[in-house]
Symmetry: C2
Subunit: 361 residues, 2 copies
């Protein structure tokens, strides 16, 4: 029944969520096995490299000496059909004579993408797909971007006044948003592998770019774009303190890598380092998520190359007026060329507002 399918898929999503922070870059997956209207096995993917959710659910059922023959298996992501770190889950399902499989979303990974489902169907197992698809896609949006676009998931984080201003012209404008927004920002930082800012932001704000206002063990890597290597080590980010700082440049100057300070040379194209090249390199280095914290020139570059997935827009209840607006270096001549995004979530903070937009094109 449709309503039962939704109920059990919700349970999968709840289980899957438990893996957050430990399974990356793998997807979060939860699985329940239902027989005669009762859940007889539960499992989720706990840690990168360990058992898949399906294996854990089957083992969980067996522990209770449950015979799962003829049961229905629910899982938020298509079961794998290839040999990876673990044997394919499709084989496990077939071997255990499971009768029906309900899948939330196809695996976006090219190696799977429908092949797991096809294998099950070939073994005469009834497969239903697309239950709570949006919720499933949403849960693993980062994983999907990683495997389909082969780059980190990119979040632009902007703090502005209601009129879109992120800094006064004289740059004497820390902080526009209040302490609650900044705390939330630190929590968002802790959910990303790296944090990027441009050279000008280093000069104007001299930030540490670390996670201080929330408790966490996560220490995202700091990334700076400094094409001509203008930054001296007087700035906090270049002081060879943990965590690592990576400087992307295209200069011929000599650089000296230190323990916590690495220089990465990339070709300049049409006078600038392409965001695409930076993301390529970060992905190659194993970073799967990137938080971009400014400034306007950097934000504009990400929009220009259409290389971002979401925007966290903090809006302080104030009018600044004349100043630097958040995307002022993104230039269009026709309104039709405005970059369209989609509002996904609204959070009312103490006085500020957080709008979360997604880039769907």
């Amino acid at each position: 029944m449709q309503s039962d399918d939704i109920k059990y898929m919700k349970e999968c999503l709840k289980l899957a969520e438990k893996g957050r922070g430990n399974v990356e870059p793998n997807p979060m997956v939860g699985c329940v096995i239902v027989k005669e209207g009762k859940i007889v096995g539960r499992g989720y993917h706990k840690k990168f490299g360990s058992h898949h959710a399906e294996v854990n659910a089957v083992n969980n059922a067996r522990k209770k000496t449950q015979d799962i023959k003829g049961s229905t298996l629910y899982v938020n992501l298509e079961p794998c059909s290839h040999f990876g770190k673990t044997p394919p889950c499709t084989e496990l399902i077939i071997k255990n004579k499971i009768k029906r499989v309900v899948v939330g979303m196809k695996d976006p990974n090219q190696q799977v993408n429908g092949k797991g489902i096809a294998k099950l169907q070939k073994a005469s197992i009834e497969v239903k797909t697309g239950i709570l698809k949006d919720e499933c896609l949403n849960l693993n949006e980062r994983f999907s971007v990683n495997v389909t676009k082969r780059r980190p998931f990119v979040t632009l984080k902007i703090a502005q006044s209601i009129d879109g201003i992120i800094a006064l012209n004289n740059y004497k404008s820390q902080w526009i948003t209040d302490i609650y927004s900044r705390q939330l920002t630190h929590s968002i930082r802790s959910n990303n592998d790296c944090i990027l800012i441009g050279k000008n932001s280093v000069i104007q704000d001299n930030p540490e770019l670390t996670v201080r206002l929330v408790k966490t063990s996560k220490k995202p890597v700091r990334i700076v774009i400094d094409k001509d290597l203008k930054l001296s080590n007087k700035y906090k980010l270049l002081k060879n303190n943990p965590p690592l700082t990576i400087i992307y440049h295209s200069s011929n100057k000599k650089t000296l890598d230190l323990e916590y300070l690495k220089y990465m040379k990339l070709k300049s194209r049409k006078g600038q380092i392409k965001i695409a090249d930076i993301l390529n390199n970060l992905y190659f280095l194993g970073y799967n998520s990137l938080l971009v914290e400014g400034g306007a020139y950097v934000f504009s570059q990400f929009v220009n190359e259409n290389l971002f997935d979401e925007i966290y827009l903090f809006i302080a209840p104030k009018i600044i007026g004349n100043g630097i607006s958040s995307f002022r270096d993104y230039k269009i001549n026709r309104l039709a060329d405005a970059k369209e995004i989609v509002l996904k979530e609204i959070k009312i903070l103490d006085k500020d507002l957080l709008l979360i937009y997604k880039n769907i094109k």
Copy 2:
């Protein structure tokens, strides 16, 4: 009992609301009379110049031949104590031997402001004030501004991208928000006595500034600031079509008033017409609410003079980048000088978002 007081005050507010659109510039007032735990009389102010809510509630009770001696009277606004278009309500209350009066808010009108309450207390009537005060203040916020500041209630209406841009530099940017937002804008127009725009907006957009997208009989007056009388009658607003257009200027050029086109000369101070002078004049002419529709220069003037009460901020889910930001002519050097406002309401439209901010200082 506190909870009963709240219950009956809510009833007053509901009744008061029925007068919206008909009582202005009077406040919206509702009244209930409660005896032995039952409502025995209900009334509200129906039309400018007609009976006050208290009179209607007393008459309503009498119609049912109810003796209201010893009862409690609830009213969202302090009863009047002066002879205006009708005799003072305090006398009516005293004469009818009402025992207790519960008031939502004091009358901000200098002629009353506590005097009504004092008169009741002097007659040994128990008076309780401040029940649902915020709701009461909110309902009659326009009236309060009118009588305390002696100017129209001012709403700035802005349609912008997430980065605060209201127009491209080449002005080819109609429309930023979608049809649902524009429909809502027309409905907001119909709730105002007049609509104001600057000369540049006339030149760039050549708007009609009428209420077309919603059904209503209201026809707000159109106001244009054109200091040096640069606008010719080729623009729709100056074509001598109804409703009235008023042009504020400070030029020595000859002007010719027509049936639907009036010229109003005001002194220029420091090279510009002061918003304060315009609002003064509009209030003198009997206009109690003003909707300001742009552009950036005009919005900035209202903020500069701190002469606005609320902002309706429509945000379209798009990034425009380089362009004209909503308050770009408001200039400050320190973040502490940013104009602070308060978020009061969020409305999710089709794709756009409407944020309603209040100016509380």
